[in-house]
């Protein structure tokens, strides 16, 4: 049996990365919940956001955490424009078309990134990149601790926003009852784009929290999109709390799995869980029956 002193840091590590997975998954689940589509471009938007954070740091010396004020709003605009200008238009109201359009967008974005920025893996240096905090029971890298706390705060803020504001009530209404939503005067194309924008902003925030301890490359999105998808399925499609809990479970599974099976096989457990959920509880932990 492994020692507690090894297991505990692995667990904490898993929770920190899990919070960021949750943030990425939150965007995905929001878009799924309202538009009823899987946004295959989600990972590519994360990739673009990571490059955004990277270049803001490399060219202007802007700290990734300061980028939280810049990148999420920029991603919101990108998401809004993509939905309103490309996805909504090209799909002609058919769900299967939306799916293909987002997949196509992902391929275009990934390859444009490859063309302009080459396949190099890039990282940034921050003064606090290798700092640690001592929690008494274990030590944890500062960027990861920050990512954990900030991701949780952003998730909670979004949750409160969803419960309180008219805009978010309208999004929830639209998710279940499109015609009813139209009849109370909800502007459907606008709100679809708003949801897409908010989902993209989540990814933008995740990018700011990730980069101090992660890397960016044109295919980095693929790493996340599959995991985020697993998180969403595990938590329950369209469920906010589900995305949060699912993110933590997946993060810990990956981290502990890496400990026992080695880094490269660490993700094995994630997909074992994925298949098990599909077999035994296809609606996910907190999902509603269709």
């Amino acid at each position: 049996m492994l020692e507690f002193s090894i297991l505990l840091p692995a667990l904490l590590n898993g929770l920190t990365i899990g919070a960021v997975y949750a943030l990425v998954a939150l965007g995905l689940t929001l878009i799924y919940g309202v538009l009823h589509i899987i946004n295959f471009a989600h990972g590519s938007m994360l990739m673009l956001a990571l490059y955004g954070v990277f270049f803001l740091h490399a060219l202007f010396g802007i700290d990734p955490y300061v980028s939280l004020l810049i990148v999420p709003p920029a991603l919101f605009v990108l998401g809004y424009a993509l939905q309103r200008g490309v996805i909504g238009r090209a799909s002609h109201g058919k769900d299967e078309n939306i799916l293909l359009v987002t997949l196509g967008l992902a391929i275009v974005m990934d390859n444009l990134a490859l063309y302009f920025w080459k396949a190099d893996t890039r990282t940034i240096d921050t003064p606090y990149g290798f700092d640690t905090v001592d929690l008494g029971i274990a030590t944890i890298a500062v960027p990861k601790a920050v990512a954990f706390v900030a991701a949780l705060l952003i998730c909670c803020a979004l949750w409160l926003l969803m419960a309180r504001t008219d805009l978010c009530k309208a999004i929830r209404a639209l998710a279940k009852e499109r015609q009813g939503a139209q009849l109370v005067g909800i502007n459907v194309p606008h709100l679809f784009a708003m949801s897409f924008g908010i989902g993209a902003a989540c990814v933008g925030a995740a990018a700011c929290l990730l980069l101090p301890s992660f890397y960016v490359a044109p295919d980095v999105g693929q790493v996340f999109v599959l995991i985020a998808f697993t998180v969403v399925v595990l938590g329950g499609m369209g469920s906010f709390a589900g995305a949060l809990i699912g993110g933590m479970i997946i993060g810990v599974t990956e981290s502990i799995g890496g400990l026992f099976l080695g880094e490269s096989l660490g993700q094995l457990g994630i997909f074992v869980i994925f298949i098990a959920v599909l077999l035994f509880r296809p609606t996910g932990l907190l999902g509603h029956r269709a």
Binding site: D166, K169, A170, R172, A173, A175, K176, E177, Q179, G180, A181, Q182, L183, V184, G185, I186, N187, V188
Partner: protein, 233 residues
């Protein structure tokens, strides 16, 4: 208040409405009657901007609203309470009512909500409950209440009596007459011919996407053809 002229619309190039003309005056209840599949709901949805018209004009309160977006038509004060209620099942009764004033009358949301629960005290008891868990009659009350939250200038009620018990149906018609007596113009779309005619001022009978009969409600009630086609008399 509402003028519809030569309205043609449908789905995927197929005509459901083949040229409808109708008018609704201030403070009137106008019944739109017809069997299943006659085009009643398509007419509502075309007026409300959910289905795009192929041809014809819709004027509301003096301005042309033909082909306008549904949310702009709501903003103008033309509110539809649709067939099947279309309430938000995942949200509470209170949230449903709040969203009724999403586009219109938002500053007077609190006052209007008080007014709505005064009309439907039952909704007050169910305030924190998810709308999807309400009974059929309560859902219909909620749908109408949500419509009233927008301070409609014209309210279109599509099959408000559908799925209600006979006693509730009677209460529903009495309520519609009461709301109208306060000055609200109403278009009442119904299969329930005699009860609708008893509270309406005028009526249109639609068959196969065309108006086949129209006139004062009292006269239509005596119409032999109407009795034959709808009451088997």
């Amino acid at each position: 208040m509402l003028e519809v002229g030569g309205l043609r619309s449908g789905y995927g190039g197929l005509d459901v409405l083949r040229g409808i003309d109708m008018q609704v005056g201030d403070k009137e209840i106008v019944a739109v009657l017809g069997a299943n599949g006659a085009g009643k709901s398509t007419l509502n949805n075309t007026i409300c901007g959910i289905v795009a018209p192929y041809e014809g004009k819709v004027r509301f309160a003096g301005s042309d609203i033909t082909g306008k977006a549904a949310h702009d038509i709501v903003a103008a004060g033309l509110i539809q309470v649709p067939e099947g209620r279309r309430i938000f099942p995942n949200m509470t009764v209170r949230e449903n009512l709040e969203l009724g004033s999403y586009r219109r009358a938002k500053p007077r949301r609190v006052a209007n909500m008080e007014r709505v629960v005064a009309i439907f005290p039952r909704l007050k008891e169910r305030f924190a409950q998810k709308a999807g868990t309400l009974s059929g009659g309560e859902q219909q009350m909620l749908a109408i209440g949500r419509g009233l939250m927008a301070e409609p200038r014209l309210l279109i009620l599509d099959e408000p009596s559908l799925g209600l018990s006979p006693l509730l149906v009677e209460g529903m018609f009495a309520l519609i007459a009461r709301i109208n007596a306060e000055g609200l113009a109403i278009v009442l779309v119904e299969q329930n011919v005699m009860q609708s005619l008893s509270i309406a001022h005028r009526a249109y009978v639609i068959e196969n996407g065309r108006v086949t009969l129209s006139g004062a409600a009292a006269e239509l009630m005596q119409n032999a053809e109407l009795k034959r086609s709808y009451l088997g008399m």
